[in-house]
């Protein structure tokens, strides 16, 4: 890729970051959201995170995986068990990685 192509793309991406993250913070106008919109929006962060995480775990190259020999499944199972047993994000990450890395390096999953 050429440097000018990459540069223009990056500048545009920066503008997009600012505009999307500050979208409803720009206007001074009072903004009254209907009650049902407010209730609905409470589910948005949970849904967005789930939509990012689930495909990262059960899909490869845009296809649902069809094998049990995938290190990610076992890492997520252990992380999940840890979270609901002890709670805490750090333990959730570490317990999953402790399972994932040996499975990847030794078993080649």
């Amino acid at each position: 890729m050429s440097d000018s192509y990459a540069f223009i793309t990056i500048v545009g991406l920066t503008v997009i970051t600012v505009v999307t993250r500050a979208f409803f913070l720009v206007s001074e106008q009072e903004m009254v959201l209907p009650d049902w919109v407010k209730r609905g929006l409470r589910y948005a962060p949970l849904a967005a995170l789930t939509a990012v995480v689930v495909p990262e775990v059960v899909m490869t190259q845009g296809q649902l995986i069809s094998t049990w020999q995938d290190a990610r499944l076992y890492a997520v199972a252990v992380s999940t068990a840890y979270f609901f047993w002890r709670g805490g994000i750090l333990g959730t990450i570490v317990s999953g990685m402790v399972v994932l890395i040996p499975l990847k390096l030794v078993m080649g999953w």
Partner: protein
């Protein structure tokens, strides 16, 4: 915050490596890192840039991935509108997923007095450093950092833990299951629109259950009639209990 940062750091490192391995020069990779500041966007557009996809396609992809921040920004309003425009833009720019989730769990209601903005700036700074320092390391050390260990998965696990901490009852759990299934089913859509589909599906299910209509009541019966509380509020109660 500091514990979640570990996952962010591993994710940042891998993103830094990925940018350089895709053929971006080191100065451009550093520029992208310091200006774009959106991990999921960076990872998604790198493969597109590698094949020299049309710029508008790349930008459209980024907008779709960032649509969730548009939704989040509506919820930041009551907290930030008393600040001047330039500061609001800065607040928006630095607010990532992590800052949003941690902040809203801690401060479910906007109040004037108790250091909310200080907490926000502290969390954002930690998040910024936890992302930028490992990313720069990844960019500079791209050739010596092994990627086949699957270190990037630590970022997914960090997001997984955050997701679990947002589950407060069977209604939110059902909404999450629906969102996950919708995301996989709609994954083939261009520009990562599956994330938007998943959000829409989960909101519909959530509203149906909350609304107390006929269908919602039947779902509640099936779920065992658990009392429903606002998702964020109850998560907060549990965290402080």
């Amino acid at each position: 915050m500091s514990t979640v940062s570990l996952g962010i750091a591993a994710w940042g490192l891998v993103t830094g490596v990925a940018m350089v391995k895709s053929g971006l020069s080191i100065p451009l990779a550093l520029l992208m890192n310091f200006t774009v500041f959106a991990g999921s966007v960076q990872l998604a557009v790198i493969p597109l840039m590698m094949v020299a996809a049309p710029i508008w396609v790349i930008w459209a992809t980024a907008v779709c991935i960032n649509l969730r921040f548009v939704i989040f920004s509506a919820q930041w309003r009551p907290y930030f509108m008393r600040y001047p425009l330039r500061q609001r833009l800065l607040f928006g720019y630095v607010s990532g997923d992590l800052t949003y989730v941690l902040f809203m769990k801690r401060f479910p209601e906007p109040r004037d007095d108790d250091g909310q903005v200080e907490y926000f700036m502290g969390a954002s700074t930690t998040n910024w450093l936890a992302w930028q320092l490992p990313s720069v390391a990844g960019i500079l050390l791209a050739d010596v950092i092994p990627t086949h260990w699957g270190l990037g998965f630590a970022g997914v696990l960090a997001l997984l833990g955050l997701t679990y901490s947002l589950l407060s009852d069977r209604a939110t759990a059902l909404a999450a299951v629906i969102a996950g299934a919708a995301a996989v089913a709609a994954f083939a859509l261009p520009f990562r629109l599956h994330i938007v589909v998943a959000i829409a599906a989960a909101i519909c299910v959530g509203l149906m259950i909350d609304g107390g209509g006929d269908a919602g009541r039947r779902v509640l019966t099936a779920l065992g009639r658990r009392k429903l509380q606002p998702a964020v509020g109850q998560a907060n109660e549990r965290a402080t209990a």
